[in-house]
Subunit: 369 residues, 2 copies
Amino acid sequence: MVDASLALSLLPDALRQRRAQAKTFKDLTYTHYTDDFKHIPRGTFVFDQTVVFGYPHIGRVLALEAGIKAHFKAPFWAEEKINGYNVRITQIQGQVIALTRGGFICPFTTDRLPDLMPLAIFQQHPELVVCAEVAGPDNPYLESSPPFIAKDVQLFVFDLMTQDRIGFLPQREKQVKIQHFGLPAVPLHGYFQPNEATKIAELILKLHRERREGLVFKEDSDRDHRAKYVTGSSCIDDLRVTSDNLLDLPPEYFINRLLRLSLFVEEHALPATAELKQALGGAFLDGLSAAMESYRSTHHVSKRFRCRFRHKESALTLLDHLKHSSRHIQILQHDLYQEDGYFVLEFERIYPALTGMLGDLLAGRMIYD
Amino acid sequence: MVDASLALSLLPDALRQRRAQAKTFKDLTYTHYTDDFKHIPRGTFVFDQTVVFGYPHIGRVLALEAGIKAHFKAPFWAEEKINGYNVRITQIQGQVIALTRGGFICPFTTDRLPDLMPLAIFQQHPELVVCAEVAGPDNPYLESSPPFIAKDVQLFVFDLMTQDRIGFLPQREKQVKIQHFGLPAVPLHGYFQPNEATKIAELILKLHRERREGLVFKEDSDRDHRAKYVTGSSCIDDLRVTSDNLLDLPPEYFINRLLRLSLFVEEHALPATAELKQALGGAFLDGLSAAMESYRSTHHVSKRFRCRFRHKESALTLLDHLKHSSRHIQILQHDLYQEDGYFVLEFERIYPALTGMLGDLLAGRMIYD
């Protein structure tokens, strides 16, 4: 059985095999599993005898109706999937911290927590783990953000867990707590029967038109079965923001999104309009053209990030983390200044593969393919 | 030194290491190098003591002006690059045969040679090797063909070699022989100085607008240095005909063409028009949508090929070859019938990866990515 004592007892082995890592955040020295290791999921966090299990993978279906039919035996909730990064928020030794998917304490999210959600819940339930998406243009990790967030970041709760236990609190209990503590939650789009694929298709098309990411289905049953399904427009958005990163991401990243988009278009009988094709072609061309302009003027291909902190120290901690954790991607500090009571950090991520390749190609390098 | 005697003496080793293969075509038993092996190029053909060296790789530049500047020290010819498959035609024991790039005797091209070029040249020069591109919609290998060939196939000579020798006949000697024997040749678009990149840019833009493939540059010097450069429209055409083959080709195939296209658009300052974006987006979407329709109606993703033969036996030999040589791609014989004095072979190539993946996904399979 996977429980906290297993996560604790496997830790020395995992550390030796470099599947777990020790880290320090302020006065907390903690460990996190950096890979799946003998049933302990990646991202599992350990401080002293306290374990916060990693957030599990949710399977993706690429065919909506067939996927629902194949996987759901009972009614299910459809919650909105938000295009951001996954965090688990919990209290350790009186400090509320935010863990990334990988189990690292995120200096940015942790710093901003008081702005993002009411924290009173942790006084009453100190063992609770709040699972949420943080999204918005001013975040340090992702180039994309939902169209409905104009600036900074917002937080959207979608699950509750308990320290030392694997698995989620039941949906109804979660909803009660979200209401009671006024937590910002992901939009809940309804409760459906497995034979209501047509209604869900209408819903997903509405989200597609609004350029929102998609849905997560959660079965109303003890097994709490789950699946996710995304809109066609989210595939195009992904391609648009990453096309200037064409050689630094695995090529499957692009192939998968093309396949998802095509299946979406086909299942929902969307006309293959000039507008849709143009959006897809532009997603590739505009990003690559920006990359080339960037290379011509600065001799590297990069993206600029910006995020706001309550404390200057948090910004420096984040920068230090980014510089050490991204093996391939070079980080340049650009600026750290005060604005409206916040410390604003601006930095650039350099994409080395495309930078190197463009340098060679624009110098006339001959390739044999 | 790489010469015929080396190709002959290395053959037993190459055969043992499976870098060469013995084959039979009618009454000819021959061997060909299936990989580069100790300076002997892939595609090198050996019959008895006669060697036909493999056609060498020509390097590709993705930046026209920089590429010419970096690689050409003397004037050069610009010949048209034709979108077809490479053959070497030569006479062995009184039979004129066509070798594929891999050194296999192509039953289709060999059968059709009398239709494709005058063969008198081999009476006067029995040791000659004619290097050419075969292109057109009715070919057994490629899904794409030049826009200016409406039906069947045509042959375009671009080089002459001599049996038992590596390297090409000089350009002027080649042109004299092409004229004298009335060989169909690739269009010659001019003779340029290395500082005439602007004139070549005008030429390539004309080819781009005509949806032709590109140019091969051949230096007027003893070293006979070469480079190729393709049009943006050829990249889009490649993507259009192969997008239904998205999972069976290496993903780099798609990434490379996106990069080539973007560099082309940028270097020639083409406006990123709606039309261009639409063509690129449509290249992906239309092909994948056709693949899905094909899957829904036949339960597999396939492409139909058609080619005409003078002799029924050649069609059967080709089919047999295709069935045995394509490890991943399944061939279905469809039809072989007579029409206008020819035997028409129609067959289908099945793309197994996309077929399998669509089958799974359309059945609702959940994936973890």
